[in-house]
């Protein structure tokens, strides 16, 4: 009696087990698909303190507006900054007219050697327009760095890995200051200067003088621009579509001797999946993204309210993480997308059919 009952239970369990095989397979497939991360189309809108990127594509791109109006401008490690004839006064000296162009060259062996041009009549905070910067093109393969170096008044550092030359067109008749740190001068007598820091008061020599200075960046461009007060929002081009090869939202901190995140806030959206939940990026969050096909930079704007630079990056991410959490979609997410819902339905129907066949055409032996 006991043996018969045990045999009946065993048979029932086997039948149940066979019936569950399709379901178990389906569950295993789902778990597998949920574990596999796949290349994910993303749109990352992020406010950052700094960003470094490599330009891709085949044509040079314009990053700043065609004519960026500035209140102050400095170039570090410059090859040269050359002015036409100037009326110039060295510190503590009387103004005199230079016989020829006045050229400053940074001593690149000393860290921080630079030439700064700023309005001389008004306080730096006034941010009155002093001039405009000519076109600076970034070529494919160039590494670029953008950094907000001051909040009020806003100042932006623009770095580029290539040597470039461009013009500074200075407006108005007001005197301006040229402050040099470890820069040699040609065209005027060299002042005695043990400190390396010299402040000149200058103006253009006459009404007929061309008000154009020429900047040679030296080995690579490293300039800091304080946009004129009315021009801050228009520092960058409004309609950027810049193909980029790689992007970094990290910066080395001397104080911490470590790489720290430059993200302030943002949102990560999954392109083409409106139903997918977006991911909020918070301040200091480590955001990494990489793609072999590259990204497109489709937004670049200095934020007028929150101190930072807004970026929008679009592309297919092969690496995408925030605070070490993989943010790429899973294979299950991709299969379960709106577009593939029919396919999912077919899979479920076939699975059900298999269960039915198992039950009625090849029932377990009794």
């Amino acid at each position: 009696m006991t043996t018969k009952r045990r045999s009946r239970w065993t048979t029932k369990l086997r039948q149940l087990g066979f019936a569950l095989v399709p379901a178990l397979l389906a569950v295993a497939l789902v778990i597998g698909a949920m574990a596999v991360r796949v290349t994910t189309p993303v749109e990352l809108d992020v406010l950052v303190r700094a960003v470094a990127l490599t330009v891709a594509g085949e044509t040079p791109v314009l990053l700043l507006n065609n004519s960026t109006v500035f209140a102050a401008f400095s170039v570090e490690g410059c090859g040269s900054v050359s002015f036409p004839r100037l009326t110039i006064a060295p510190p503590g000296g009387a103004p005199f007219e230079s016989a020829s162009a006045v050229t400053f060259r940074c001593d690149i062996r000393i860290p921080g050697a630079k030439v700064l041009v700023r309005g001389g009549e008004t306080a730096p905070e006034a941010a009155e327009a002093l001039g405009s910067i000519g076109r600076i093109l970034a070529a494919p393969g160039d590494r670029l760095g953008l950094e907000l170096t001051n909040v009020s008044p806003p100042e932006i550092r623009v770095e580029m890995s290539r040597r470039v030359s461009f013009d500074l067109s200075l407006t108005g008749d007001t005197p301006f200051d040229i402050v040099t740190e470890f820069a040699d001068v040609e065209g005027i007598p060299t002042p005695v200067d043990p400190d390396g820091v010299i402040e000149y008061r200058a103006s253009f020599a006459g009404p007929g003088t061309e008000r154009l200075a020429t900047v040679d960046s030296g080995a690579g461009l490293n300039m800091v621009v304080q946009p004129a007060r009315s021009e801050s929002a228009e520092l960058f081009r409004a309609d950027v579509v810049i193909p980029i090869e790689s992007v970094s939202l990290f910066q080395r901190s001397d104080a911490d001797d470590a790489f720290v995140s430059t993200a302030i806030n943002g949102t990560l959206n999954y392109a083409g999946r409106p139903a997918a939940e977006s991911v909020q990026i918070s301040a200091g969050e480590n955001v990494r993204l990489r793609s072999t096909t590259g990204f497109r930079l489709t937004r670049l704007r200095l934020d007028g309210t929150n101190p930072g630079i807004w970026l929008r990056l679009e592309g297919d991410a092969e690496e995408l993480s925030s605070n070490a959490v993989d943010r790429r979609l899973t294979l299950f997410d991709r299969v379960g997308s709106d577009r593939n819902r029919n396919l999912l339905g077919i899979v479920v129907v076939v699975a059900s059919q298999l269960v039915w066949l198992r039950k009625y055409l090849w029932p377990a032996s009794k």
């Binding site: 700094a50 470094a52 400095s74 570090e76 090859g79 690149i108 062996r109 000393i110 860290p111 921080g112 050697a113 630079k114 700064l116 590494r143 670029l144 760095g145 950094e147 170096t149 001051n150 100042e155 550092r157 770095e159 890995s161 290539r162 040597r163 402050v179 740190e181 470890f182 043990p194 400190d195 390396g196 820091v197 030296g218 080995a219 690579g220 490293n222 800091v224 910066q251 080395r252 901190s253 001397d254 104080a255 911490d256 001797d257 470590a258 720290v260 200091g284």
Partner: protein, 276 residues
């Protein structure tokens, strides 16, 4: 007690522990747990500090500017970092960081000298050129090597030889250093200036003084308009100054960590001993 009540009690305790753990991890941890120098045996150990949010000014390079320095037009077989180690000072800690780069930062530290450092004399740490040469080739493509020579690249390295506490915890704001020179020969070198480079992480006006060991002001710096992230350099002409201890104090016009104090020993000649 019934089984279901026991389970509820266990779940409640688990919840308390989880919430407590989360709260604990969100708190600032005790100072004793921080990544700090420890003794017996000497080591650096602890929890790494979170990135500093406060505005700060830090030393990024302390170089001796010398006459008679070789030009380093091509890579020598070895680089030599030369500095004077005053008697009675702790072991030096060498830290080299590339000051600016868009393609990674060259770094060197945690050096183990082949023989113990000798106090009271000029010391050198020599290392092979291999990594430096490879990093230069990687960072500077052939078409840019005319603009960025090997000497220019080496000039962009921040050298800090600190005496005593090293590591990231505020050590670049209040420290004793041995100003160093990067050379490739063993010729004697006469110190003409000191080049102390600093960097702030906020825009600031920075002023400072250098005081002798008798607290006399021997040099007042100009006012620097420091830009966040840009180094600036204090050059002190020291050739005529008596040898001894000096202290450079800089103050930045922001709150947070606005002061940096660098103590250093001025030695006029960086000549090696005959047996070096």
């Amino acid at each position: 007690m019934p089984a279901w009540r026991t389970r509820i009690c266990h779940a409640a305790w688990l919840l308390v522990l989880v919430i407590g753990g989360v709260r604990a991890s969100a708190q600032t941890y005790p100072v004793v747990l921080r990544y700090l120098p420890r003794v017996e045996p000497g080591r650096q150990e602890g929890l790494a500090a979170e990135p500093k949010s406060a505005d700060a000014i830090v030393l990024v390079s302390a170089r001796a500017d010398v006459t008679g320095l070789d030009s380093l037009g091509d890579w020598p077989p070895q680089f030599r970092l030369r500095f004077f180690l005053p008697s009675g000072e702790p072991s030096p800690d060498i830290r080299i960081r590339q000051l600016r780069s868009l393609t990674g930062y060259y770094m060197m530290d945690s050096v183990a000298p082949p023989k113990p450092w000798a106090p009271g004399v000029v010391n050198e740490f020599a290392w092979t050129r291999d990594v430096v040469a490879d990093v230069y080739d990687f960072q500077i493509p052939p078409e840019r090597r005319k603009d960025v020579t090997k000497g220019d690249w080496l000039a962009g390295l921040g050298l800090v030889v600190s005496l005593g506490t090293a590591g990231p915890t505020a050590s670049l704001q209040r420290l004793t250093v041995a100003p160093a020179v990067l050379t490739s020969s063993n010729r004697p070198l006469a110190v003409s200036n000191y080049l102390f480079s600093f960097r702030t992480n906020a825009a600031a006006k920075v002023t400072g003084v250098i005081r002798s060991s008798s607290d006399r002001v021997v040099y007042t710096t100009p006012e620097y308009q420091a830009t966040s992230g840009s180094p600036f350099t204090v050059r002190w002409p020291a050739a005529d100054q008596p040898e001894g201890w000096y202290r450079l104090v800089l103050d930045a016009s922001f709150e947070g960590q606005p002061q940096v104090v660098v103590r250093f020993y001025h030695k006029r000649s960086l000549a090696l001993r005959d047996d070096d």
